[in-house]
Symmetry: C2
Subunit: 332 residues, 2 copies
Amino acid sequence: MASERTASGEDSLIARYFRPLATDPGAFDLNDDAAALKASGEDIVVTTDAIVEGVHFLPDDPPDTLARKALRVNLSDLAAKGATPAGFVLTLALRTVDEAWLGPFASALGEDATQFGCPLLGGDTVSTPGPLMISITAFGRVPPGKMVHRSGAKPGDLVVVTGTIGDAALGLDVLKGGVVAGALASDRAGRDMLIGRYRVPQPRNALANVIRDYASAAMDVSDGLAGDLAKLCAASGVSAAIDAQSIPLSATARALITRGAVDIASIVSGGDDYEILCVIPEDRFDVFEQAAKASGVPVTVIGGIVAGSSVPRFFGGEGREIPLSRLSYSHF
Amino acid sequence: MASERTASGEDSLIARYFRPLATDPGAFDLNDDAAALKASGEDIVVTTDAIVEGVHFLPDDPPDTLARKALRVNLSDLAAKGATPAGFVLTLALRTVDEAWLGPFASALGEDATQFGCPLLGGDTVSTPGPLMISITAFGRVPPGKMVHRSGAKPGDLVVVTGTIGDAALGLDVLKGGVVAGALASDRAGRDMLIGRYRVPQPRNALANVIRDYASAAMDVSDGLAGDLAKLCAASGVSAAIDAQSIPLSATARALITRGAVDIASIVSGGDDYEILCVIPEDRFDVFEQAAKASGVPVTVIGGIVAGSSVPRFFGGEGREIPLSRLSYSHF
């Protein structure tokens, strides 16, 4: 971390917290102006995602979960692109340098960097009079030309998602005291599970090699399944037909639907899932499924790619189409 | 630019402005979640610098100069590390999507991307209720292990800077209506030159290969010559003796000193120079100087590296040491 723009006292404070995370030799112990990333012929996959206080997270979200979320949303992109994590740089815009905040933030970030094999390579710490902002650019490696794209889906391919969909958006509703908070008033465990899904995504990096080997197209689900699938279809020049009853849900989310507290339309337009949406050619599905099983990541077929350029359609029981009033969550 | 977190209308607006900048095939026309940077055995040098409204730039700074400054402060780091620009990613935190601002911003950014051979690879656009923030992570290529470090300076080496020092900080003072603005009240050309140096740095990428081939240590001067030299010396485990009268100054800066409007101490602690500070072994200086001349970048010897661990000392006329009350500018 060059830490330019901070006084030397702050430099040493930041160095104290972040230097232990800079375990890659190319980070030069954060004592230089740049890092050097080794690349022996692979492509370096680059992704960048920023989160802003009051927009992407709540002012009272704990610093340790913020650190994990800021890194994991980028790890999720690397996983969906079939890339192996190589490292990241961090830009931190802070109002003040607060040790009680920086300590748990850096500690959790370091734990995730170790867990996912993605060391800190450098960064910049700037002062802001405004909201806290955490911007991470993460790097991964793939064999030359092997990054998995949004484009590439073909009619007949199967549409697959990992894990369960909708929990994170329900968790945000709990934190905001919305209808879900009311419906789960007596279900502490359910509320905690949903909040955990919102605050700490579980990126599917264990599946990255499988995605790279079998998917014709992939992206992570960050802005809502319906909207992200629409983006993938648009990039591929196709459409999709989704069986809403096949969408994998947690027991808590399913119970909320059964009770009428939320509907499937809001589940598929909620954001922050950080699951992988991928498209698998039908004749490769069996080997894909076996490889996914070996990786420990649950995968579910939710529909198929069809020809056309219309927005993907979601069908409920008895084949009735489910109208979606919005495709995804927008902060603007 | 993944442009996640923006509504589809904003997506297309941003795509319209930024897609023309994504000329590298690895940017995939900004239609994907990540970019792929080719690396045929070179090291990828990574640097990141953010600028915040009200902290690193003034609220009424024009969007075209902001775009140039945001990219050029990163290009300056690449130059000082001996790297050839390869591309960059952009994170833009905006209060609103304003076409009258985005148009000239993107246009100037595109011109600089072309001029410096550093295409846009991707990015993220986020909404913020706070100040505008522009964060850029830039990439360069060097042969394996050849990045130039802050460490490496040895006693006897010569301390060299490019261009002139202090103009940008004087330009900021003009914009803030400080003493320099008063002293130059009747010198419009002088004021404009200084403001230009503050708003649009001239990164020394033309000298990158020369730095890589001859410098024992280097960094760019962004936080003030005195402070940045102190960092280089600390990283190298040495000290330095600087002849203040050798520090290259513009005619305007020199006249301001002669008239007593500013002193050399404030010149060497001002920021935003974006010149290169480098250290050249004495026996290589002649070939370095020739190579620098061929690159068109002016270089000046301002002193020498000495043994020791004290802060570098600056000497004025008759060898008297110049006391520095502060080494560099701090925003915290």
